[in-house]
């Protein structure tokens, strides 16, 4: 008896409260940038693709849903010939983003990925790559990697010169 009355009281109090349910999809939620959903591949400040096909994201992925195939430019820079993520398998753990040495792969707050066909959930490089730099503006991996020619490196050793 007392239990029923107290429940009714609680319901009565809540009748006047602000509602928690959102009218999604008409009303979009505001999610923080660190939210982990749809994965993108970003570009460096020069607009070049950042990914160097190192495969670290694929290695760390606990569900093994990333497959990257390496290719190489004439001057020895690596890039992904193909880059595939299967979002039917991805659990949005964000490990790939943490493993990536180039800040290429990033998770975004866009969680609206549902689809009717599994094949539509396989995203290739052209579906993943965006035009911008994402969360790490200004970062360029090749500035610090060995094949770069930056101030942090001396000119190549001339072995025919014995001067120190």
């Amino acid at each position: 008896m007392i239990g029923i009355l107290s429940s009714l009281m609680r319901i009565g109090r809540m009748l006047g409260a602000k509602t928690q349910t959102r009218a999604y999809p008409e009303e979009k939620p505001v999610l923080p940038p660190r939210y982990r959903a749809r994965i993108i591949l970003t570009r460096d400040p020069d607009g070049q693709e950042r990914c160097v096909a190192c495969n670290l994201c694929a290695a760390v992925c606990p569900v093994d849903c990333i497959d990257v195939v390496k290719a190489e430019t004439e001057d020895g820079h690596w890039y992904p010939e193909t880059f595939r993520i299967n979002f039917a398998r991805c659990i949005f753990c964000g490990f790939c983003e943490e493993a990536c040495p180039t800040s290429a792969i990033q998770l975004t707050p866009d969680f609206e990925l549902a689809d009717y066909a599994r094949s539509s959930l396989i995203y290739d490089k052209e579906h993943l790559t965006i035009a911008g730099e994402g969360k790490h503006p200004g970062y360029r991996y090749w500035d610090i990697a060995g094949k770069a020619k930056t101030e942090a490196e001396a000119p190549p050793v001339d072995v025919r010169d014995l001067l120190p």
Partner: protein, 863 residues
């Protein structure tokens, strides 16, 4: 002498005077190192192997020593994890990292890098200096190797291997003090046929396999399958790395008695023929595709019509056996010339009856005298030539040993040994690639090579002989373990006969090695074919079934043409398009060595199992499976173990072949893929991993196709892809699988010797002197190209030399030819212009030509 030493708190038996680093590694105590290598010994250059050593129980202070330079003493105590030694090693790494690029993410070596492992082990993370990093220029080193000098840590292993171990001269270290650079004076392909080993010798990513780089997958992302090199008769053990159905890398697989740590380039880059554009993918009749069932029906009809089977020294024992079963032993012929078939059978008979023991490649290294009779070993059995180079240093090591310098102290041995060389006689028609390692480089015309050999035998029996033969005989007689080597490279039988008589004179202390031409030449001969192609031509005309064999590479083209045009129907089973498949009316695709499991018999009659690295396609199953299917032998789905059981029943002498690897059902399957194999679900559309929908167990071996199954220490050596140790991801982990560094594998070196000694001396062979006009043929060989599979491999084809035609200037004058002249050989225009070479014996013409071509060459100027 045995010593007791304490390593990291545990006592072990060790050999007094041996280096401490090897002793630690042999006992499972990992010690960081760079410049030391199991085959190269110690030089003490990198200072990474520092450990704390206490002289005995009373020593409480101890001191930091380089374990690779410290001999083991009884009662010694060693702390690898000592804090000060650890700090010392961390400093060494930090100095190296001052200039090392931030490259792991874009470095092929990453994930199997010794430097990476060593750096992670010391905990080094951040570079504390912001001084500019030293950089170096790259060089194009040809189709085999990449070169990224910025990653060099100047451990000098590459030069020590290339120059000191492999005898190469076109690669060196340049520069001074901290500005050194390793490469060639001019860009270009490395000359040495062992250059590919730099990819494994270099502990960093300076040198990597260029083919791998161009077909790249991370080391943990490739399945690994134990296979056997099919490019010469040595039978080196290799690992094939595969991903997504394509070959990615070929790597050395340690075998204590054969290849040890090294392969030759023909073996390392030869297997790329399996993904060559010339692969046959569907059955075809007279050039048009035909349904597989119809093709099988045609083949059955041919068998019913009394088909003749032409076996192959390139195909596995099982495939040749299945062909013999299909056509019957009386209609089974070897796909080589009659002369070669007889010579190979005779070589087996010599090995059966000789009092000498059979030399493994490892035995080459410990020989204290050697004789090579007629064989261009560097081209016909390259790995054996590399081992022979080490034998040359035996005298140097002995002299250094007398002075108290242990043999592992590499640089000191070279000084103390005063450049002394063990006696090695090389008797060949032309200057040989091994001449620089020989004390007696001797030149004889091809027909005089055996004469010289018989003279040595006569001298050994105390009969008068020519002085040079006397000298060689003395050296062989004085040795404890003299090594005798010959083969079929001159396309002559007599050198092997001469070698047999030398072995008979030397007795049981001698070791003998005879090299036939191909990976399974001995396997084919052991199946007792009814002669070679000339015999097949002499048999009644019948349909031909040619097994994995481009006959034009193995016999005179006139014979092959006659054979093929006479046959009412030619059926060719092959994985590659060749001149023979082009002439065959019916072509059946079969699996290449990368998709077929099979057994190969090497030069010491060791049966070795080579496993399929990927699933065969339905259109191209293993050749033995296709043949069994045509014959309706062994039921609908024959397995390799059934074929081997049938072989054992039919030829009990070959029963040992079944023991070359465990049967398919003996164990839970061994995993082909590493534990951290990634990307499996990326292509998954149906909610299932593609691998999951196909059977996991390989029906023909004890291995599974995926990452599930046994791995590591419990795996039998024949199925082992290499030890995987925590913290050791590079080839340096291989030491853990060896009983002693460079010794046999734990669990025994794989393979089963099939040779049974016999008392019945067979009939010796002689080489007939050809009648007729013309010059006599001297076969020329190349380490990069021998048969059709070598030439189909793109990287090897890029290194295959142009055709050669060598003439002595006197012969050229007699024929009215000048250097560079175009010629007709046997009436056909020859691709190679005349090269004059005063080293050529008179009356002979050096010519790159298929084995088994006619011994007379008619040479004329192009009219």
């Amino acid at each position: 002498m045995t010593a007791r030493v304490e390593l990291n708190g545990r006592w072990f038996d060790a050999t007094e005077g041996r280096d401490l680093l090897s002793t630690c590694l042999e006992n499972g105590v990992d010690v960081p190192h760079f410049c030391w290598h199991g085959a190269l010994g110690s030089v003490g250059a990198c200072r990474l192997c520092a450990v704390r050593v206490y002289s005995g129980p009373d020593d409480t202070m101890g001191r930091i020593e380089m374990s690779c330079m410290t001999p083991v003493r009884d009662g010694m105590r060693v702390e690898v994890e000592d804090a000060e030694a650890g700090r010392f090693r961390a400093h060494v790494i930090e100095w190296l990292m001052l200039n090392h690029p931030h490259d792991c993410a874009v470095c092929e070596e990453g994930g199997a890098c010794h430097l990476q492992d060593m750096t992670v082990a010391t905990g080094h993370r951040n570079r504390r200096s912001d001084a500019p990093k030293r950089t170096h220029a790259r060089q194009d080193l040809g189709p085999f190797l990449t070169h990224e000098m910025n990653r060099c840590i100047a451990c000098y292993r590459c030069v020590r291997f290339y120059r000191d171990y492999a005898g190469g001269t076109d690669f060196n270290v340049f520069g001074a003090h901290d500005r050194v650079w390793f490469g060639r004076a001019e860009a270009g392909a490395l000359d040495s046929p062992f250059a590919g080993n730099l990819a494994e010798i270099c502990p960093t990513g300076v040198f990597d396999d260029k083919q791998w780089s161009q077909h790249y997958a991370r080391p943990w992302d490739m399945t690994e399958t134990p296979a056997i090199c099919t490019h010469c008769s040595v039978g080196c053990n290799i690992t094939l790395h595969e991903r997504a159905g394509t070959l990615r890398k070929v790597q050395n697989r340690y075998h204590g008695a054969i290849n040890g740590f090294f392969l030759c380039d023909r073996g390392r880059f030869g297997p790329w023929f399996v993904d060559a554009p010339g692969r046959i993918t569907a059955p075809r009749q007279n050039g048009t595709a035909i349904a597989p069932d119809a093709a099988i029906a045609l083949a059955r009809q041919a068998v019913a019509d009394g088909a003749i089977g032409i076996g192959s020294p390139r195909a596995s024992l099982e495939a040749n056996f299945a062909l013999r079963e299909l056509v019957g032993p009386d209609r089974f012929f070897a796909g080589v010339s009659d002369a070669e078939a007889a010579q190979v059978a005779r070589m087996l008979a010599i090995l059966q009856t000789t009092p000498a023991s059979l030399a493994t490649i490892k035995d080459f290294e410990s020989a204290d005298a050697a004789l090579i009779l007629g064989e261009d070993l560097t081209a016909t059995a390259p790995r054996a030539a590399l081992a022979l180079r080490q034998a040359a240093r035996g005298a140097e090591k002995a002299l250094a040993g007398e002075k108290g310098v242990p043999d592992w102290l590499d640089q000191a041995v070279r000084v103390a040994g005063e450049g002394r060389r063990s006696p090695i006689a090389i008797v060949t028609p032309l200057p040989d690639a091994l001449d620089d390692a020989a004390t007696h480089p001797l030149r004889r015309a091809p027909d005089q090579v055996a004469t010289f050999g018989f003279a040595i035998a006569a001298a050994l029996r105390g009969e008068p002989s020519d002085p040079e033969a006397q000298a060689v005989a003395q050296a062989l007689a004085a040795a404890h373990a003299p090594l005798l080597v010959s083969g079929i490279g001159l396309s002559r039988a007599e050198p092997a006969e001469a070698l047999a008589s030398i072995a008979a004179a030397l007795g049981a202390k001698a070791r003998i090695a005879l090299f036939p031409a191909e990976a399974n030449s001995f396997g084919l001969a052991l199946l007792s074919p009814k002669g070679g192609l000339e015999s097949a031509l002499a048999a009644n005309p019948a349909p031909l079934i040619v097994l994995e064999n481009d006959l034009y590479h193995r016999a005179d083209s006139a014979t092959v043409n006659a054979l093929l045009s006479r046959a009412p129907l030619t059926i060719a089973l092959d994985c590659l398009d060749t001149a023979t498949t082009a002439r065959a009316a019916l072509v059946l695709p079969v699996a290449s060595m990368a998709e077929a499991t099979g057994t190969y018999i090497n030069n010491e009659t060791r049966a070795q199992r080579s496993l399929a690295a990927r699933r065969p396609t339905d259109a191209a199953p293993a050749a033995w499976r296709v043949l069994a299917q045509i014959g309706g032998l062994l039921g609908d789905a024959p397995r390799l173990d059934d074929v081997l059981a049938a072989l054992a029943a039919r030829s009990p002498a070959l029963a040992g072949a079944a023991l070359a690897a465990p049967p398919a059902t003996a164990l839970p399957a061994v995993a082909r893929a590493p534990e951290s194999y990634s990307g499996r679900t990326a292509h998954d559309l149906a909610g299932r991993v593609p691998q999951g929908t196909l059977p996991h167990q390989d029906p023909d071996s004890g291995m599974g196709w995926s990452m599930e199954g046994l791995r590591g220490a419990g795996v039998p050596p024949a199925l082992s892809t290499g030890p995987h140790r925590p913290g050791m991801h590079s080839v340096s982990a291989a030491y853990a699988a060896q009983t002693t560094i460079g010794g046999p594998l734990k669990g025994g070196d794989p393979g089963v010797l099939l040779l049974v000694k016999s008392e019945t001396q067979g009939q010796a062979l002689t080489d007939p002197t050809p009648n007729g006009d013309g010059l006599r043929w001297l076969p020329l060989h190349s380490p990069f190209a021998a048969t059709e599979t070598d030439l189909a491999s793109p990287p090897l084809a890029a290194r295959a030399p142009a055709q050669h035609l060598l003439l002595h200037p006197d012969d050229a004058t007699r024929l009215g030819l000048t250097a560079g002249a175009q010629t007709l050989v046997d009436g056909q225009p020859c691709a190679a212009p005349v090269t004059l070479d005063a080293a050529m014996p008179r009356g002979w013409v050096g010519l790159t030509a298929p084995r088994g071509r006619s011994p007379l060459v008619t040479l004329g100027a192009v009219p």
